[in-house]
Symmetry: C2
Subunit: 210 residues, 2 copies
């Protein structure tokens, strides 16, 4: 289960120029298919043979490129999380208003969530399965993500002179947003803008009352 670093990383081919992106694009596609399988069957429920079948890559090939089932999950979670995080940072750099910042946080989270439902479900649902080095790295990103939201909220709280428990508030907000994967239905529930408006309303009015 543990030990991320004992297994050598697959020997990534050293190429020149335009070969690299094609290589990454192909592996990206494979990661997408793997995400779908993990999403449907769960990490433990999905076998390497399932993953191999779904990606079209041979079993041996999977091990050649990814090294282990654990690392496969790690790569998916790491890629998903850091993409969300970098998008968020880009958006937040445009504002200094903490209230607007939290709205942006919600909007960014839900937009990515609905756009990549499967990846986000794997991120939410297979949260505790990675341990060792992999688990530590994912936990690090997650803590930073939490930190950003909490800091924004604390600034907002001070600015408006409000009183509430920041920790409970932030984690309740995360709960609202991350629970979506258990119920979201695009036919019944609107898009990301509508959902983030409604959840943002509940959350903001909720913490804003004196």
């Amino acid at each position: 289960m543990a030990s991320a670093s004992t297994r050598p990383r697959p020997h990534r081919a050293v190429r020149r120029q335009q070969a690299e992106p094609r290589f990454d694009r192909k592996l990206g596609k494979i990661l997408e298919h793997a995400t779908e399988v993990f999403c449907d069957k769960g990490y433990e429920g999905a076998s390497m043979r399932d993953l191999s079948r779904a990606t079209g890559m041979s079993l041996a090939g999977m091990y050649h490129y990814f090294g282990s089932k654990e690392r496969l999950l790690y790569l998916i979670q790491q890629h998903t999380f850091s993409t969300v995080l970098s998008r968020l940072r880009a958006r937040l750099s445009e504002t200094n208003d903490p209230g607007h910042g939290v709205r942006t946080f919600i909007q960014n989270h839900l937009e990515y969530f609905l756009e990549h439902q499967q990846a986000m479900k794997v991120l939410s649902h297979e949260d505790e399965v990675l341990d060792g080095e992999y688990g530590r790295k994912i936990a690090l990103i997650k803590r930073e993500y939490y930190r950003i939201c909490r800091d924004l909220l604390d600034r907002y709280k001070k600015e408006k002179g409000l009183e509430f428990d920041s920790r409970t508030a932030v984690l309740s907000l995360f709960g609202m947003m991350n629970w979506i994967y258990t119920w979201y239905n695009p036919r019944l529930d609107g898009g990301a803008e509508q959902l983030s408006r409604e959840m943002g309303n509940i959350f903001f009015r909720g913490i804003s009352a004196r």
Copy 2:
């Protein structure tokens, strides 16, 4: 995976008087230990041998009493859910005010949640694993649970003349509450009363603003 009714239920001993409760108490203890294992390792990750070891009952004994791993999970979920539901009904029968009803709903949910964290995590986290007859039965209880909360909220909405999307509101509330299992720390976060007050505040003020 499917088919609940193909396997015969274990022949429950027909006994008189005080033997029954002892029988049930023993099996109840075993279910508690099994809950702990499912909670720690997940349904797929937990093996019948793990469960057998944790409960102190032999592997064959587990099958004698519970029939299958699937039915074991079903019994845990069914017992947990119907206990929550019957407690809720008892409390709700004392009030007719929908606002107070929703507060009671939150209080009841969180109280049981913190009192039986492991069982509730198994209920939340292993939500999609049961299919067939078992899955249908659990889904039925869940829908009824959802219905109660939604009806209360709709009555509250009409009474106060508010406007918000009931579905999104109820499911956001469930998200806040059910996500707790991923972060709750009794040292940092208070007891059930405090948490349900804080979440209740966020939720109520959130939906109440015009």
